[in-house]
């Protein structure tokens, strides 16, 4: 049977066994989940299979952990929950994954088929609820369809533009005997890359005087980091990245400039404004990048490559739009570049101009290194953890500081919730990262607001002995909201002051280590000690309550309305 993936004799199996076998056949190693009534048959079958289950303390954390695992490993993350509240608790995690194109399969138990539609105990229409932010969803009512549906869910999650897929399985379907005989492989064809646009793109790259490459998450998702580097080095074109594109190109590469957007470097925003060609690959012109879209890169021709054709022209109308996988497209463009002589003058003057424009930012960063605050904390973490560090950030001011001041030299070493901006993401996502790369140092940087949203996961971290280090940048505020209130609401700090636990006592109660650090303490020594200590440590850095993230382009405005630090 040529069209079947497996050619073995199947014994009769239950729906739950079929689910577990599908997971095994997909090469799944870890599941992140939380059991409950409607998913009990699945959990009953689970111990009979070599699948490792991570019991989180909340279903939202299970989804984020699966997300972190998927982002770090490049494989499909799997999370499991029961019906009703279990399923609704997954929702934020699914939306987070959808916005950042992360491949995830979420398995939910559902009440039995006879009980469906009758407002039964713990019944909820999770399919209907998650329609807007799943790539696809299945309600499997036929036990024979369970195995192929599970396999199909993985295909969909990782195919094309990746995303989360929900598989909702009624309890009696998990119990039922199945009679399916195999699996018809349904591989998706790779996106086409034979496009006249590719040759045109190569021509535009050759002739541009002030070009920039703008690389997004699609480069990492498509494993196209090498092609990005080859293209940049072949053309000498400077590279900027989106927030999620950070670490797709090494920060210490001479062609790397930084990242643009609302809190991106001023020099990078100005570079985009002055560019004559923007080669945008694996990105979607998020409003945090463009600000006022009609004023974005006004003088530039735009080459836009994305695996999702519906992204082309959604926000910015491209000069050349190419619907293709980033890796294949850049390979093809490199081929076109090699087949024709370079006639243009190159962009050496442009590179020199950009290097000069970055000098003030470099000087500011240098001078801030000696002052107690976020930059000093980041420098200390980088020094203690070394080049293999994987950094997971939460959402808020610290996220921007980390993106601005950290130097990411390792591929795919920066993990954050970009599109949805989900506070509470970092701690559980870091668990997924730690399971994917147990040998690599994993640090979380979070604010004192976000860390409390999934703080219960310290128990999971302790149970599995995960070696995750946490730096809380504690300013006693929901810092980013407070900053907006300062700038746009006359310093009316409505409900942004926030308190938290004593992290030393909290970590002690979980059997973990914690330490409070204030101005005047030795930051470097504290971070080094945390790094050397086995197991999870939380460092609670008390920082300036009114420290701000600069620069800032107010929402919906352009680079010309950028707010810069005093004296910048």
């Amino acid at each position: 049977m040529e069209d079947t993936a497996f050619n073995i004799e199947y014994k009769s199996r239950t729906g739950s066994e079929a689910m577990c076998e599908a997971l095994l056949d997909e090469g799944v190693e870890y599941l992140f989940g939380y059991p409950g009534g409607a998913i009990m048959p699945f959990y009953d079958a689970l111990p009979d299979y070599p699948l490792k289950h991570v019991l989180t303390r909340h279903e939202q954390a299970a989804a984020h952990a699966a997300d972190g695992y998927a982002r770090a490993s490049g494989r499909v993350g799997v999370c499991v929950a029961t019906s009703g509240p279990g399923a609704t608790n997954l929702v934020t995690g699914l939306a987070t994954a959808q916005m950042d194109s992360v491949p995830l399969v979420a398995i939910t138990g559902q009440v039995g088929r006879p009980a469906m539609g009758k407002d039964s105990f713990q019944e909820t229409n999770v399919m209907g609820m998650t329609l807007p932010f799943t790539k696809h969803s299945f309600l499997v009512e036929d036990p024979d369809e369970l195995y192929p549906t599970m396999r199909r869910a993985f295909e969909i999650a990782r195919g094309g533009r990746p995303g989360p897929v929900l598989v909702d399985v009624p309890k009696d379907v998990q119990f039922a005997a199945t009679d399916d005989k195999g699996y018809r492989r349904l591989r998706e064809a790779p996106p086409p890359v034979e496009s006249p646009g590719l040759e045109r793109a190569a021509m535009l790259l050759r002739n541009a005087k002030r070009p920039l490459i703008l690389a997004g998450h699609g480069v990492t998702l498509g494993g196209a980091e090498m092609e990005l580097r080859l293209l940049a080095e072949r053309t000498g074109i400077p590279v900027v990245t989106t927030l999620l594109g950070i670490s797709a190109f090494p920060d210490d590469h001479p062609l790397y400039l930084g990242w643009p957007g609302m809190h991106g470097q001023a020099s990078v925003n100005r570079a985009i404004d002055r560019s004559d060609l923007l080669f945008a690959v694996g990105m979607r012109f998020d409003d945090r990048i463009t600000g006022a879209a009609h004023k974005f890169a006004k003088g530039a021709k735009i080459i836009h490559i994305d695996v999702d054709p519906s992204e082309l022209g959604k926000v910015i109308k491209p000069t050349v739009g190419i619907a293709a996988d980033a890796k294949a497209a850049m390979r093809s463009i490199l081929g076109h570049l090699d087949n024709a002589p370079d006639e243009g003058e190159g962009c050496e003057h442009w590179r020199e101009e950009l290097a000069r424009s970055q000098e003030p930012e470099r000087r500011r960063k240098e001078s801030a290194r000696d002052q107690y605050g976020p930059i000093q904390v980041m420098e200390a973490i980088k020094a203690a953890a070394g080049p293999d560090l994987r950094l997971v950030t939460d959402v808020g001011q610290h996220q921007m500081w980390a993106a601005q001041f950290f130097e990411f030299t390792k591929t795919n070493s920066h993990i954050t919730s970009g599109g949805l901006g989900t506070m509470g993401f970092a701690l559980p996502a870091a668990m997924g990262v730690a399971f994917a790369y147990p040998e690599d140092p994993v640090w979380v940087i979070a604010g004192d607001g976000g860390i409390q949203m999934n703080i219960q996961e310290l128990a999971t971290i302790r149970d599995f002995g995960l070696n995750i280090k946490v730096a809380v940048l504690n300013n006693g505020y929901l810092g980013m909201v407070r900053q907006w209130q300062q700038f746009f609401h006359n310093r009316r700090y409505s409900e942004t002051p926030i308190t938290g636990p004593d992290y030393e006592q909290l970590t002690a109660s979980y059997g973990l280590a914690g330490r409070t650090i204030r101005e005047g303490d030795d930051v470097e020594a504290a971070v080094r000690r945390a790094q050397e200590q086995e197991g999870c440590t939380i460092l609670d850095f008390h920082i300036d309550p009114e420290a701000n993230v600069y620069p800032m382009i107010p929402s919906g405005m352009s680079v010309n309305e950028m707010i810069e630090e005093d004296g910048a």
Binding site: H136, G313, K314
Partner: protein, 149 residues
């Protein structure tokens, strides 16, 4: 106005997903008509969607719809509208001059044709229309969805 015909399977869940996508992506939907596929086509459905936007975004929306797993085919379509009319007024002359097909079935006038021609026909009948059910616009059944993404 751009017309798109979407063929899909998966029943109510798939229809729900399609509607949610239209709403979620803020597509400028000016009309939406649902019909069943012919028997033997595995219970599929056809939705004819009128988009009030220039052709370029319509193409992007078509690409977006085509990415839905339940959708088997999507593309631009020529449309037809059907009107079931109760009238005591003489309707044959109006139908002829509007250039539509019309016949009477058990007291109900069944009129069909291009939407703008049906509109002309109804305008000619004016107050003579006592009751009416309008079906469509629907993609013409003989036409395959063309130029799909």
């Amino acid at each position: 106005m751009n017309t798109m015909e979407v063929r899909f399977t998966g029943g109510m869940l798939a229809l729900n997903r399609l509607l949610m996508t239209l709403q979620n992506k803020r597509m400028p939907v000016a009309g939406f008509t649902l019909a069943r596929e012919a028997a033997g086509n595995s219970g599929g459905m056809r939705a004819t969607i009128l988009l009030e936007c220039p052709p370029e975004p319509a193409l992007r929306y078509t690409a977006l719809i085509s990415a839905l797993e339940d959708v088997s085919e999507v593309g631009p379509a020529e449309t037809i509208e059907v009107a079931l009319i109760s009238t005591s007024k003489e309707w044959r002359t109006a139908a002829e001059s509007a250039g539509i097909e019309a016949h009477e079935d058990d007291g109900t006038v069944v009129a069909s044709g291009a939407p703008e021609k049906v509109e002309d026909f109804l305008a000619a009948l004016g107050d003579g229309v006592e009751d009416m059910v309008r079906l469509g616009p629907l993609a013409r059944p003989e036409g395959e969805a063309r130029g799909g993404v």
